[in-house]
Symmetry: C2
Subunit: 160 residues, 2 copies
DNA sequence: CGCACTCACGTTATTGTATAACAATTGTGC
DNA sequence: GCACAATTGTTATACAATAACGTGAGTGCG
């Protein structure tokens, strides 16, 4: 286990303004690269998620959009979230039916999440090689397209 | 990488009658061990899942129960499924909001799933050590309680 | 027996999550 | 102008899960 174990922004103090600025810039860039646009709705959804490394439900986000006069029906939120997921700047946390901003949207990566079951904060780590799974998959003739690892437990703040 | 890569029943030919017999026996035994009962409803739900290594939604199962005159309201299905999950003979696939029978209900294990996005068949492998994640979690002070790995793609039959 | 207690199930209602389907609008290039 | 893609607006619906309360069977005990 010679992994350097990179910092987990979700739980550690860090310069979060940089998260915000850089992620917005990346989203902007990826959008134009694909001939698409980071519209006000999409940008606002990303901003809401960038308020912290916490998982938010689609309807939580929708309510926030409604307050801002940016839409009030479910498809509005889901479209924006799916757009941002396609860009790779937002991940879906399956265990929570919720969404969280990616902490390293530049690299292709297999996301792995540490989810606090008490406060819903989420730390994202690049998944390791996944060891035997890739081997087992190959041997079985299975073609993996996407994968995710989700671990649930208690974050440092919620223990003790 | 020296993992022997155990067989993935979900995709490989195997003696499925044994899956059925043994899993039912294990469920029976675990139930009595805990002073609980594998009632007709619970047994039937397990049998339905044992028809194959495929993920089924709670409402799919409920409809089957209804056909058999064993209950028609959602709580009936969810109670049975939660009971079987507590026993450890059924897993929930988060990506699909669906349930699948465990392929090695004896050992304590961290499940890892290969999910075919076309036919919903599921192969379960014991998760590897999770490599760097445990290290990163420890370093961040996060206490992992449960975790799951879900990979999506195409099974051998659904390629080509 | 009478009583307390747990397990299991029946039932109604409600909440939460997500998508289908179609209309309307905007912008861009030819 | 016109075709076309992208984006949004809107209505309705499907799918997933739980809350809350009631019923009855079984068990143990004085
Ligand atoms: Zn941050
Ligand atoms: Zn990520
Ligand atoms: Zn089998
Ligand atoms: Zn299992």
């Amino acid at each position: 286990m010679s992994d350097p174990a990179p910092p987990l922004e979700g739980f550690a103090a860090h310069d979060h303004r940089r998260c915000r600025t850089e992620t917005l810039a990346v989203a902007e860039r990826l959008s134009t690269e694909r001939g698409l646009k980071l519209t006000p709705i999409r940008r606002r959804v990303l901003e809401i998620l960038l308020e912290g490394h916490r998982a938010l439900g689609a309807y939580d986000i929708l309510h926030r959009l409604a307050q801002d006069g940016l839409g009030s029906q479910p498809p509005v939120a889901y479209r924006a979230l799916n757009f941002l997921r396609d860009l790779g700047v937002v991940h879906r946390i399956e265990k929570l039916n919720a969404f969280v901003v990616c902490t390293h949207p530049r690299d292709a990566h297999v996301p792995a999440f540490l989810i606090c079951r008490k406060c819903s904060s989420v730390a994202e780590a690049s998944a390791p090689s996944q060891g035997g799974l890739l081997g087992a998959a190959a041997q079985a003739g299975f073609a993996i397209e996407t994968s995710v690892l989700e671990a649930e437990g208690l974050c440092p703040d919620c223990q003790g």
